[in-house]
């Protein structure tokens, strides 16, 4: 293309304008040499989003390739819209987690809502009916003036979207820490079910095939959202509000039903949602994967505003839109389905053999970009990094002279923001729609959702302990994976695969890059040891404000298989008179524990070590007991340690426990956060047999006591009533949200 053939009523692109689009001088130089000319404004906009951190993974790709992504259960690993796992009997589970951090901080309701909408589309675009939503949320300190407003907005946004589309929100996690004051994290996950032989991919094929646009109309919302998500925040971040998209869950619901109906016909060659960077990334990725070119005529794009330029149309992040390559001649059949659902349907172009993205409008050519050279030239950085220095062990005399009453300590701990009940949040989410929810938040360590019209179920969880990751990214990365594995195991599920949502600060700082590299190493080790591959993921970098980074937060979303939804364990004590046992060894590791932070006000020490062989051995033992119907309840031991796990099982049931030797133990054994542990209940007649089997398997198991009564009772008498614990645990969040600002 000669310069003269491009529309001339656009601004001349200069190095300064390229820099304003986030391109480094070197990246702009690359673009000039690929094109052999200056880009048009439309071309610059397109390339700037293609090469943004958000779309290109330029800082993370090298390290992400170190994660294990294969296994006999994997049908499709990273690189598609979502990961696909074999679920037996011809079924597949399709799932992914994705961040919407930057937009949610700027406009919490719409930011969180469109985060849910985006991840739903990633899953149903591959042919799955979404059956469960989860969310992993991190907010700043409760004392920070914006936190209450952000919690309220994010929760309302997640509910407003998820409730309307009719997908139950069944699990998640919520933490608070001052490191998130300027950058909250909103990571949304969707799990869907499809037939393994009816998976839809995004690679375009067939020169001449029509390119079809369906869904909502295009407006000016979200332009440059991907670029915004690839930069640090500063004082003027509020001014970025126009880059946040606006969600319409009603249209999304129609789009789900229409797409799934279309997928039952034999008309689709390829399909992809228009997510970050909208029409640009969907068209470029689909054509690029197929080794083809694509011609788009923007005059035919359904638009909700007048006077939009090609630049704006190509960069709009208007929601609830999909791009489909149809088989030739099937346009009328497809159009009838979208007419039924009252959605826009427009043929906006066709595939070519040119290898180029060509954008025309008003009879002019606005962009003509060679796809492969630009995709291949997408920057890839092996950024400098430094390992995180190891934390000193805690002093041996840390607890000398500590003699606070156990009951009061437990109440304090259970009312701290991280451990306090999140009922206030989850009761705003429809967790029951579709009638297949066996367990939701608060009932079990993982959400459990039965597959439609089947007996089997998928167990779902999200996990990460950011304070561990800050102190030791390698250990923290491994711990996030094993905790997800444990939570699936604790309901009786066989863990199958994970999706990762890597939330970090500015990767251009070697210290931050070192956190990323360390977390990947820990995760990779754990995934390998547990046969728990990564099948999809998302990276969110530059979570910094005025140079202050978030805690490194590699959030893990995971799924597991339950052959029978009814053979699954919740965490509530099922009845009085049951024997309480702990599986796994208690050593008393207090470094980075919540007890240390909340009671002793220290964030020192290394996080607990993770022994992957022990995790596997202990977890397999517990899962067998659940599947045999012997374990009647199960809860993994994590934040707060052993006594908190017991208290949570008691609060969930309203049934107390007698634990004869508990009040004689040093605090480290009660509150330490040693890994690889589970609390289970069994009927008393099974206890001896379990101890014997555990001995044979080399699994440490101990009897702790018996369920019953309305209090936790130790050898020296009542420690605390369940009512007092519940009041402390249930009271904090509603009280906080109701308090005047």
């Amino acid at each position: 293309m000669t310069k003269a053939s491009v529309s001339e009523n656009e601004v001349q692109v200069t190095a300064e304008i390229a820099a304003e689009h986030g391109l480094t001088p070197e990246e702009y130089g690359n673009l000039l040499s690929i094109l052999g000319r200056a880009p048009t404004m439309t071309e610059l906009g397109i390339v700037s989003v293609m090469w943004s951190e958000h779309c290109s993974y330029k800082s993370s790709k090298f390290w992400l390739s170190k994660l294990p992504t294969t296994g006999p259960q994997v049908i499709c690993g990273p690189g598609e819209n979502a990961g696909v796992v074999d679920f037996g009997d011809g079924d597949a589970i399709i799932f992914k987690m994705e961040s919407h951090n930057h937009p949610s901080y700027i406009e919490p309701y719409q930011g969180a809502a469109t985060g849910v909408g985006g991840i739903l589309r990633d899953v149903f675009t591959m042919g799955a009916r979404p059956i469960a939503n989860l969310n992993a949320l991190r907010f700043g300190s409760p004392d920070h003036p914006k936190t209450r407003h952000l919690v309220a907005g994010v929760v309302a946004g997640i509910g407003g979207y998820g409730n309307c589309v009719g997908v139950p929100t069944v699990a998640g996690e919520t933490n608070f820490h001052p490191a998130y004051n300027g950058n909250i994290l909103v990571n949304a996950m969707t799990v869907g079910v499809a037939k393994a032989d009816r998976i839809f991919y995004s690679a375009a094929a067939g020169v001449g095939n029509p390119v079809v646009y369906v869904g909502s109309k295009t407006g000016r919302d979200g332009i440059h959202g991907a670029t915004m998500a690839s930069a640090e925040f500063s004082e003027d971040s509020e001014e970025k509000r126009p880059t946040v998209q606006v969600g319409d869950p009603f249209t999304e619901k129609l789009l789900i039903e229409a797409c799934l109906e279309l997928m039952e016909t034999d008309t689709i060659v390829a399909i992809q949602d228009m997510g970050a960077a909208g029409l640009t990334s969907s068209s470029v990725e689909m054509a690029g994967k197929g080794g083809l070119g694509i011609q788009l005529d923007l005059d035919d794009v359904p638009m909700r505003e007048t006077g939009m330029t090609p630049y704006e149309i190509m960069l709009s992040e208007s929601q609830e839109r999909m791009l489909i390559i149809l088989k030739p001649g099937s346009e009328d059949q497809a159009r009838a389905i979208f007419d039924k659902w009252e959605l826009d349907f427009a043929v906006i172009g066709h595939l070519t053999d040119s290898g180029k993205l060509v954008v025309t409008m008003h009879g002019r050519t606005w962009a003509e970009l060679p796809i492969a050279p630009i995709s291949n030239a997408s920057p890839l950085y092996e950024r400098p990094w430094e390992p995180t220095p190891a934390r000193a062990e805690l002093p041996a005399d840390l607890l000398a002279g500590w003699n606070q009453p156990l009951g009061k300590t437990l109440e304090t701990l259970l009312s701290c923001p991280d451990l306090a009940s999140k009922r206030w949040l989850w009761e705003q989410y429809d967790s029951l729609v579709n009638g297949n929810t066996r367990f939701m938040s608060g009932q079990a360590d993982a959400g459990v959702v039965r597959l439609p019209d089947q007996k089997k179920a998928v167990a779902v969880t999200t996990d990460c302990t950011p304070r561990y990751c800050l102190a030791d990214p390698v250990r923290g990365g491994a711990q996030a994976v094993v905790e997800a594995w444990r939570n699936l195991t604790a309901v009786g599920a066989l863990p199958l695969a994970i999706t990762d949502n890597m939330n970090f600060g500015n990767p251009e700082k070697p210290r931050i890059m070192g956190q990323f590299v360390g977390a990947i190493q820990g995760m990779a080790d754990a995934c390998r040891a547990l046969d728990f591959p990564v099948v999809s993921g998302n990276v969110s970098l530059y979570n910094e404000t005025n140079g202050e980074a978030i805690l490194p937060t590699p959030a893990i979303g995971a799924i597991g298989l339950l052959p029978d939804a009814m053979i699954a364990t919740g965490l509530a004590f099922p009845a009085a008179g049951q024997t309480i046992m702990v599986v796994g060894e208690t050593k008393g590791h207090l470094g980075q524990s919540l007890f240390l932070r909340e009671i002793l006000k220290s964030e020192d020490g290394p996080p607990p070590p993770v022994d992957l062989a022990v995790e596997r051995r202990n977890g397999d033992f517990v899962r067998t007991l659940i599947r045999e119907g012997i374990a009647t309840a199960c809860h993994d031991v994590s934040d707060g340690g052993l006594i908190v796990a017991i208290a949570e099982m008691a609060m969930a049931s309203g049934i107390g426990a007698t634990l004869p030797s508990l009040d004689d133990q040093p605090p480290a054994l009660l509150f330490g956060e040693d890994q690889g542990r589970y609390v289970i209940t069994v009927t008393p007649d099974k206890a001896a047999d379990i101890l014997m089997r555990a001995g044979e398997a080399g699994v440490p198991v101990a009897v702790l006591g018996t369920t019953g009564g309305n209090a936790l009772v130790g050898g020296k008498g009542e420690i605390v009533t369940i009512a007092a614990l519940k009041a402390a645990n249930e009271g904090w969040l509603p009280g906080y949200m109701a308090a005047a600002e």
């Binding site: 309302a156 509910g159 407003g160 409730n163 309307c164 589309v165 009719g166 319409d248 869950p249 009603f250 249209t251 619901k253 129609l254 039924k340 659902w341 009252e342 989850w426 009761e427 705003q428 989410y429 429809d430 967790s431 029951l432 729609v433 579709n434 009638g435 297949n436 929810t437 066996r438 039965r450 439609p452 939804a565 009814m566």
Partner: protein, 229 residues
Amino acid sequence: MKAAVIVFPGSNRERDAVAALEAASGVRPFEVWHRDTELPEVDLIVVPGGFSYGDYLRSGAMAAHSPIMREVKARAERGVRVLGICNGFQIITEAGLLPGALRRNAALKFICKHAPLRVENTDSPFTAKYAKGQVVRFPVAHHDGNFWVDPDTVKRLEDNGQIAFRYVTPEGEASEAGNLNGSVANIAGIFNEKRTVLGLMPHPEDAVEALHGNTDGRALFDGLVEALS
């Protein structure tokens, strides 16, 4: 018992209703698209939950004018039983099959939980298999469930035995503490005068099997099957 479930754009609990009806009756109900103008011959019409038309104008207001609703109203006048659940309650209220309106919950938030209800009148096929005054737990999942009618109408509903369910405390008290969403007189569900139409905000269809951890809703469907088969 033959049943039809009406599906609007944005309905999202039609599958739950279909499953509960099929489990109770052994017959899979018809699913009828809102643009249809004819209904098959059925004994029961269910208007299911969801967010018809996104609830963007006012919950149920758009769906009440869908083509199929003319036929639903005609059948209701002929005595065919109609059950409106959640958004369905909002729709049949907007359509004039029941009095009153559903406003935003008093706390202005969506509420999803298993809520205690008291059965107020068992003289209907919907409630015949419950005991009067029985406290049951049905799941609720709504943002706009705050029922309102004027005081005279409340009196009339009470006098005619048109109140089907009330929100109560776990002990069965229809007090302010037991009022889930601010509804007038704690009303969770009402009948028409002939008690052939029931609208309620809670979801009996999501409390019908062991998986739900709550089977209190089953008697509602069993009662319909018994009366209408």
